[in-house]
């Protein structure tokens, strides 16, 4: 199984029946196609749709119906449309149960950087800064190390922040961490990964949960 698939399959387990969930652009969007049939969730798209459906068949394609990644989508039964101010009232007002976002760096205090690389990338934060402040629970999914093998799980973020102390849960290809007032805790190892490997590839300080488990 690839690292990405491990991350996504673990992330799907964060969804609970009845939740309203925002999936970030990029890797998190892929979770939409992996949700088990017995888990009924309403996916929110911050451009103004609660209840994202499947990708459309050719004949269903409608340029007036897209998700936040600007992909053509459909609306599922029970969906609603609204404007951008209302969309972010839902988000900022704490009405969205869960947001799953991509990350560039996560720090041991729960800081997240995922919107900008100075001098390299000028794209903008989109809705990420609103989501990390407003959604009830923030799960970040990302590779544990970058392409040079350096840890993306840091003592302190080096990139401009998206939010301070906002991450509740981090899922990587190696492990799952939870964040609380008392710091960062390793709660699960991905299958086939050892504690020593996680320690070696993590710059951040963390404690190991007494109930450390393996994600199968």
């Amino acid at each position: 199984m690839t690292g990405r698939k491990r991350i996504l399959e673990r992330a799907v387990k964060e969804l609970r029946d009845g939740m309203c969930v925002n999936l970030g652009i990029g890797m998190p969007t892929l979770i939409a196609n992996m949700i088990p049939e017995d888990v009924d969730v309403m996916l929110q798209s911050e451009n103004g749709l609660l209840g994202i459906g499947a990708y459309p068949k050719d004949i269903e394609v409608d340029p007036d119906l897209i998700n936040a990644g600007k992909e053509t989508v459909t609306a599922k039964a029970g969906a609603s449309y609204f404007d951008s101010a209302e969309s972010f009232s839902m988000i900022r007002g704490g009405h969205i149960d869960l947001a799953i976002l991509g990350g560039m760096e996560v720090a041991e205090n729960g800081d997240l950087a995922n919107w900008m690389i100075p001098g390299k990338m000028v794209k903008g934060m989109g809705g990420a800064m609103d989501l990390v402040q407003g959604a009830k629970r923030i799960v970040v999914i990302m590779d544990h190390v970058n392409k040079h093998g350096e840890s993306k799980v840091k003592k302190a973020c080096t990139l401009p922040l998206t939010g301070q102390g906002v991450v509740h849960c981090l899922i990587t290809d190696l492990a799952v961490f939870h964040f609380s007032e008392s710091g960062m805790e390793l709660v699960e190892l991905q299958k086939g990964v050892t504690l020593d490997e996680v320690k070696a590839k993590t710059e951040a300080d963390f404690v190991v949960s007494e109930t450390l488990s393996v994600n199968n």
């Binding site: 404007d83 972010f88 903008g124 922040l161």
Partner: protein, 231 residues
């Protein structure tokens, strides 16, 4: 009531160099295509444009970039546009990146006569620099100001002659808040119906916000990322 225009020329002629224009749309969805191309054709310069995105290189607000008409862009996400990056990195273009929810709320506030508001969005980030911080119930917030444009460009699906507007699906996006936040709001629509033909319960934007209505033809409605179930 004389809100319905037969051509956009008259209203575009009122827009002068240096104007601030708030523009609806998300990506290329629900953008006021006709107003943008008319403004490109008029060629006014030094514009401040407030819109969630800046189009793509050859469509939407990207047309104004290509023509070097934009002095300052206020947006939340501009990653689809190489021209944008070039003009920004060369210093030709001033950019204010605003979190998407803060941008929507700044427009809503501007249109609602609220000069500023507090939000937690952006606290502890570059967005918070230079802004007033205030604590409410132990949590820190920053002050963000409302936005009002000299003109607002809106795209809706249907209008009546009073300027009541109905949007379609996610083409609604920023359009209703943009409609409230212009000193002069111009709505372009696909269809105009008679007074009384829109169900008052289903009007999204009241005509009170709308000064001019124009019916466009042959909407391109370009799709940015065609994704289908068969793909």
């Amino acid at each position: 009531m004389g809100k319905v225009l037969s051509s956009l020329d008259e209203v575009i002629q009122q827009i002068e160099d240096g104007a601030t224009i708030v523009v609806g749309g998300f990506g290329l969805c629900g953008i006021p295509e006709k107003l943008i191309t008319s403004l490109r054709d008029k060629g006014v310069k030094d514009l401040t444009i407030v819109s969630n995105n800046c189009g793509v290189d050859d469509w939407g607000l990207g047309l104004l970039l290509e023509n070097k008409q934009i002095k300052k862009m206020v947006a939340s996400y501009v990653g689809e546009n190489k021209l944008f990056e070039q003009q920004f990195l060369s210093g030709e273009l001033e950019v204010e990146l605003v979190p998407q929810g803060t941008l929507a709320e700044r427009l809503r506030a501007g249109g609602a006569g609220i000069p500023a508001f507090y939000t937690a969005t952006g606290v502890g980030t570059e967005v918070a620099k230079g802004k007033e911080h205030k604590e409410f119930d132990g949590k820190t917030y920053i002050m963000e100001k409302g936005i009002v444009g000299d003109f607002a460009f809106v795209k809706a699906w249907k209008a009546d002659p009073f300027g009541n507007l109905v949007y379609r699906k996610t083409a609604r996006n920023f359009n209703p808040v943009v409609a409230t936040a212009g000193k002069v709001t111009i709505a372009e629509v696909e269809e105009i119906v008679g007074i009384g033909e829109l169900n008052p319960d289903e009007v999204h934007t009241s005509g009170v916000y709308v000064q001019k209505v124009f019916v466009g033809e042959n909407y391109e409605k370009r799709i940015e990322r065609l994704t289908t179930a068969n793909a």
